[in-house]
Symmetry: C2
Subunit: 145 residues, 2 copies
DNA sequence: TTAATTAGTTAGATGATCTAACTAATTGGT
DNA sequence: ACCAATTAGTTAGATCATCTAACTAATTAA
């Protein structure tokens, strides 16, 4: 039980290094690649991006400018609330990114195949609940400012 | 099985946001907090830090300078290989960081208590193997330049 | 209909990281 | 043993992602 903490630290660090490597291969900043990962098909508002990334609004504007210039995303005004800007990924560009992820997905699928249904359920449950705990604890840290 | 990928993405993003919040509370750069997390008791060489963090040697020098000035770490020359510099965390400073982590650790312990031994073993196995897969895939991405 | 709030952008400043060049220590081939 | 090549870390200068503060425009509430 004590060797659990370094385990999750290593896990998170490796995940980050992997995504950094993907970003480098694409010639993108790690932040930009992270956003593109979030933008699957759905559109996301600039403000939601700021929350998700932990960035200021100005930083998001700069980031979307970069991605727009490179042709990765487009801006659309929200019809209902015209203050809002919705960011949409360009499908053709997303495809080129997904190609890079194929190796990881294949390896992960192969690994996950070793688990039976109950075990897989446990893993999903663990990830879901840990995510929730992290969100709560992050909020609590922010409170005391 | 299809909703697994967004799950791990959310997990990693939340983990990062949590650590960003910790760093902000300490008045440190996220990178610096990440290094301090790695430096438990053990000493780590500057080069190993560069690998672990995905930074250049110059960036590590600057980072260690920052942490040294603030009293978080000390530099020691390696006796065996005097080119090497070993970085050591200052225990008293580490304690103040651990205090911030208490809330998370308590919440995680409470959550993990819901799993029986077999389930916990599955979670540890999953984290261990996924970490290994990520390391392999990162290396493969780096190969093609 | 006017005041207050919210979403996003612009402008300018800061600073973490980068590249390239350098010092110093170690290793290996001859 | 010795010189060349490699490795570890640092220094100097440049770049650029992000920050703060001030601004525009749209929405909501009094």
């Amino acid at each position: 039980m004590e060797h659990y903490v370094p385990l999750i630290r290593e896990f998170a660090a490796r995940d980050e290094l992997f995504h950094d490597a993907v970003a480098r291969k694409l010639g993108l900043h790690p932040t930009d690649e992270k956003v593109l990962r979030l933008l699957g098909q759905q559109t996301v508002s600039a403000g939601d991006l700021a929350d998700y990334m932990g960035l200021t609004g100005a930083a998001v504007t700069a980031m979307v400018d970069r991605l727009e210039t490179l042709g990765y995303v487009t801006r659309e005004r929200d019809g209902a609330d015209r203050r809002r800007v919705k960011i949409r990924a360009v499908p053709a560009k997303l495809a080129s990114i997904n190609r890079i992820y194929r190796g990881l997905h294949a390896a992960m699928d192969a690994m996950l195949a070793d688990y039976n249904e109950a075990e897989f359920k446990t893993v999903v449950d663990y990830l879901t609940r840990t995510t929730k705990v992290l969100a709560e604890q992050t909020r609590k840290l922010g409170d005391g400012n």
